[in-house]
């Protein structure tokens, strides 16, 4: 609770510690119409584009992910030319097709992971803020320990134990990122539960369903949505980093992170650096695009959430 007290007199306190990082919490529900800034609109365009590629890329791709565009001309890292508009990779496969195939995999795994993290985190977080102190304390301690492990390290240990497959990746990402979601939703829940309007609703005799959906949700939605965006970015970075280390999506399946790894050689003895640049730009444009949207949403929600990224 001490975290939340801080907000009221934040003018007198230098905040910004790991303890007091809920500066995105606000006193009043967001008011006014939500409008995107120019950079936010760019973010939306980029994100919609990648979502489209993720859904339909594999049907629109000129080649299958492991097909060779030029079966007769066998040389790696070819420059872009008609037939392979982004050139070819280390095994002479079409970069463009692999980026399109990889989109679905990278985005799909990350989205599934962040949804799992949210289901676990929000359920336990809100539950913990309503439940008794003992359960709350136990959960908080447990998640604090989870938070003390660097995400990539956690991923390495899990992959070492269970091997790497897409389901393992999704569940690992979901588990690793649930503590942060738990912390945020617990703080939000605690904050809102003691508000006067919740008290009023209780006194009015409203049921839990009303309180959760009509009182808590409208007030928690904005911070949770912008945090969802942030978490999505983190999960994309996590999954691609694991793949980059060779411990995520396994070859010959295309995935943006593993494409960077496969084509590292292009930097030293390739005709072009596109094989490595294309997937890297794909990831960066997607995450930066989402970040631009998150910036807008969190500015609207009152706090600068992305300041914590």
């Amino acid at each position: 609770m001490s975290k939340l007290k801080k907000n009221e007199d934040e003018h007198y306190v230098a905040p910004f510690s790991a303890e007091v990082s809920f500066d995105e919490l606000q006193d009043a529900p967001p008011s006014g119409k939500f409008r995107l800034s120019f950079t936010g609109k760019i973010g939306v365009v980029v994100m919609v584009f990648w979502m489209f590629v993720a859904l339909f890329g594999q049907f629109l791709a000129p080649f299958e992910e492991n097909d060779l565009p030029f079966p007769d001309d066998y040389s790696e890292f070819q420059k872009p030319r008609p037939g392979a508009w982004l050139g070819t990779d280390v095994d002479d496969r079409d970069i463009l097709s692999r980026v399109m195939y990889g989109a679905g995999r990278t985005i799909g795994i990350s989205l599934a992971g962040v949804i799992i993290a949210y289901v676990i985190g929000v359920t336990l977080g809100i539950g913990s803020s309503i439940a008794g102190t003992r359960i709350d304390l136990a959960l908080t301690q447990f998640f604090n320990i989870m938070l003390a492990i660097p995400t990539i390290m956690f991923g390495l240990v899990v992959v070492a134990a269970l091997g790497s497959s897409i389901p393992v990746l999704i569940i690992t990402a979901g588990t690793i990122f649930s503590p942060v979601v738990f912390r945020l939703s617990r703080a939000l829940g605690m904050d809102i539960m003691v508000m006067d309007f919740v008290e009023a609703a209780k006194v009015r005799g409203e049921g839990y369903r009303w309180i959760i959906f009509k009182e808590i949700w409208p007030n928690a939605a904005m911070p949770l949505i912008s945090d969802f965006g942030l978490r999505f970015i983190y999960v994309i970075l996590f999954v691609s980093s694991l793949s980059f280390l060779g411990l995520g999506v396994q070859p010959p399946m295309a995935d943006w992170g593993s494409m960077v790894r496969e084509n590292l050689g292009a930097l030293q003895y390739g005709e072009s650096v596109i094989p490595i640049l294309a997937p890297a730009i794909a990831i960066a444009s997607l995450t930066v695009g989402i970040n631009l949207i998150v910036d807008d949403v969190s500015a609207h929600a009152g706090g600068k959430l992305s300041g914590r990224l």
Partner: protein, 317 residues
């Protein structure tokens, strides 16, 4: 004052202990135990039983854990499973230098520059300089390390035409400047990665202090803005800034993993990746503990610095 310090340090130790349990249990989920892996095909029932006896693998899990923890604290990390009869300590002492040099050089170069840039941005909020810096860090902060690394390689190697895309050669007998040029690509990449966050967070921390009433008072008294920042705001912002620095140094601990693999030089990070690939769980346990402990300690410093600098947090209600 002291009680809360001791409490925080105690909490840090407890967290490390919790982390050690997670790592130990996690690595024990690996198929096959040390005796099986070590004996391989040549194992017989008797030899397996004998070796398990010797390694203490027939004990209950919690006893194995305490045994492992006790040895770990004493610096006895055990023997590698994958690389013959090499001890883990040997493996680590061969590799730790690169990691340590790159991280500390990053801290030495990246931190002062980024903090300085952040403070200047906070001095002149809303100016062109501030906007460019903010936009730059918004872009870089969300990009993966290997994207930044690729940009650095393109710029340094292809555009400027100097150096090599990978780090090669030995670091023996090199002085500081030579070391910096040797690791120029990993260091600049890591610096950029942490700078993106550091600049934003430093700026936010200083701006936060700048919005307090006593600063308003100082401005109303007619003190020039530069002096207000330097004399009035900065002193109170030191705590938050140290906190921010510690958080970002903790981030370097994980960022360095990708960077080492990218630039292809060997260090602790490549060692742990290799451990995962060869399923050498004793190696993973040890390195996992080292990385996590560093991370926890840095986070603890972040926590302590904000408590020490803020009387309100020293006496929580």
């Amino acid at each position: 004052m002291f009680p809360i310090l001791i409490k925080k340090i105690g909490a840090g130790l407890l967290t490390t202990l919790g982390v050690s349990i997670v790592i130990f249990v996690g690595t024990n989920l690996l198929p096959g135990d040390a005796a099986q892996i070590r004996l391989g095909q040549a194992s017989t029932e008797d030899s397996l039983r004998a070796l398990r006896e010797e390694l203490g693998l027939n004990l209950p899990l919690y006893q194995q854990y305490f045994r492992w923890l006790f040895n770990f604290v004493q610096g006895d990390f055990g023997t590698s499973l994958a690389s013959g009869n090499v001890t883990i300590a040997q493996l680590i002492s061969d590799r730790y230098e690169n990691t340590l040099i790159v991280s500390s050089l990053t801290a030495m170069i990246g931190v002062p520059i980024s903090v300085g840039l952040g403070i200047i941005a906070a001095m002149f909020p809303g100016t062109l300089y501030d906007r460019i810096l903010t936009l730059g860090s918004v872009t870089l902060v969300a990009a993966p390390e290997f994207f930044t690394a690729t940009l650095m390689v393109l710029f340094v190697v292809f555009f400027l035409g100097i150096g090599n895309a990978v780090v090669v050669g030995s670091i023996e007998d090199k002085n500081l400047v030579e070391l910096i040029t040797h690791f120029i690509l990993p260091i600049t990449t890591l610096c950029l990665v942490i700078a993106a966050q550091l600049i934003r967070m430093t700026r936010a921390a200083v701006l936060n202090v700048m919005s307090s009433p006593y600063i308003e008072m100082a401005i109303l008294k007619g003190i020039p803005r530069r002096r207000v920042v330097m004399r009035h705001a900065l002193l109170n912002a030191i705590g938050p800034i140290v906190n921010v620095v510690a958080i970002n140094l903790a981030y370097v601990v994980t960022g360095v993993i990708v960077i080492e693999v990218y630039f292809g030089y060997s260090g602790l990070a490549t060692l742990i990746v290799q451990g995962v690939q060869t399923r050498d769980y004793i190696l993973i346990q040890t390195l996992g503990m080292i990385f996590c402990a560093t991370y926890v300690i840095l986070m603890m410093i972040a926590d302590l610095s904000s408590i020490l600098s803020n009387p309100r947090l020293r006496h929580p209600k």
